[in-house]
Symmetry: C2
Subunit: 240 residues, 2 copies
DNA sequence: TGGCAAGCAAATGTCTGACAATTAGAAAGT
DNA sequence: ACTTTCTAATTGTCAGACATTTGCTTGCCA
């Protein structure tokens, strides 16, 4: 691990980068204990608060975890899929909401990515995942559902579709794309008619996946994208 | 913003979460200045180091940036695509390298995602992006190229393909999938014959995109996936 | 009046020392 | 053998001090 720090960046930033690089490069391996804060102070020749700030930076990225007590310390963390999901979703959500990404762009990306899952999902979806989709469809058709709850259920449906591909890496990559759209979708007001159309498409998608018909699933996803885009367009037009 | 902290988590974690939620929820908007460290100390009733550790956590996630001096402080950061890229790549790389994700799974995810870009890229790729692809193909065919450099060029080629879709959200989502594979690809030893086959497929892909032939691009991507998988399988078999 | 320099004030960055809280393991006692 | 107690190591938190950076004010001088 590099222990020299010269640049004009913050010391804590440099230290965090040095440790992060060591983790990525592999000279610090999973579950290995880092030197104690006191040792790091000596090694980098800085005060304890500086070291601590560096460690907090790494903890925020799930690169390390800390444990108090006698045999405690900072340990290289095995990045879990769940942690990676959360990070992905936070980052994607903020990226979309802060960068005035137009709805069309986000929507196009999302459905392009989802369609890439469809063939795999048609092959591999489990009965459990099909049941989840049906359950969400049922929830969506219940009267008195708020727009927000409808959107949340929509997300759950699509997650089941994605998970159906049985590829955790794919699920992880798609998590951001699917979830980050929710705040944008929430800006739409859905009439009963809109909901009915969406629910019908969801049903057809579930049917296609159950029948292992990848082409049909793909076609209905395209329809759904078109439908979503149309809804958004009129919603944003009405807003003005 | 919530200012109460009870749970048994670290104070700095709770404070960071409170501020993060305020940013996501929208009550702190882009470029808005957070209260000074001293003010946050009062508001949360904690010491300054605790506040600072919380702020460093947020800075590590690119949620805020800090500025020294009179009019300085912590400001809500507009998450840039570039920052999001870097985070994505770091997270994805670690997720793959630490979780013993098998090559097949990662490869399947990557090519599934890339194929979702192909139709868009066939429509929209710029001459510039085509030129980048050709340049990388040329680099790949140069003699004496190390395996590592070959892989790096491979990544650059695929990034150009993805960027060809002209959708920054898509580029962002795929950054992780494409780049995180590099360490895995680096474990393969490429014979000249292997390289020739890959280069030929790259050429055909570039040709297809130039001709705006989405179907052909898709077909060649499938071939490339098969080829890559075959290479990996024999490489890992040889290792044992 | 205009410009320049010095100084001031506010803010973050860093260091030091102290104490609190937690925890594993050693030591002691039964 | 078991339980209790003690101890040492380590992170979590606090307080105070000083360093550094930077925008703004103030005052001087031409």
């Amino acid at each position: 691990m590099k222990t020299d720090l010269n640049e004009n960046e913050d010391l804590s930033t440099q230290i965090a980068e040095a440790i992060r690089d060591a983790i990525i490069e592999g000279s610090l391996i999973v579950d290995q204990r880092l030197p104690s804060e006191a040792e790091l102070c000596e090694k980098f020749d800085v005060g304890r608060s500086t070291v601590r700030e560096a460690l907090k930076r790494l903890a925020a990225q799930n690169l390390i975890r800390t444990q108090r007590g006698a045999a405690g310390g900072a340990f290289v963390n095995r990045m879990s899929f769940e942690e990676a999901y959360d990070q992905q979703i936070t980052t994607s959500t903020l990226l979309l909401s802060m960068n005035r990404v137009d709805f069309e762009t986000a929507c196009e990306a999302r459905y392009a990515l989802e369609r890439s899952c469809a063939p795999l999902s048609a092959q591999r979806r489990t009965p459990d995942q099909l049941a989840t989709m049906r359950a969400e469809i049922h929830r969506q058709s219940q009267p008195g559902l708020t727009d927000e709850a409808f959107c949340a259920s929509d997300v759950a449906f699509h997650r089941a579709l994605v998970d159906g591909a049985g590829n955790p890496v794919l699920s992880y990559q798609l998590a951001g794309a699917v979830e980050a759209m929710q705040p944008l979708m929430n800006m739409i007001t859905y009439t009963q008619r809109d909901r009915d159309r969406i629910i019908a498409l969801h049903s057809q998608i579930a049917d296609a996946l159950e029948a292992k018909d990848a082409a049909a699933a793909n076609a209905r996803l395209i329809d759904l994208e078109t439908e979503t885009l149309k809804l958004a367009k009129s919603a944003f037009a009405a807003r003005r």
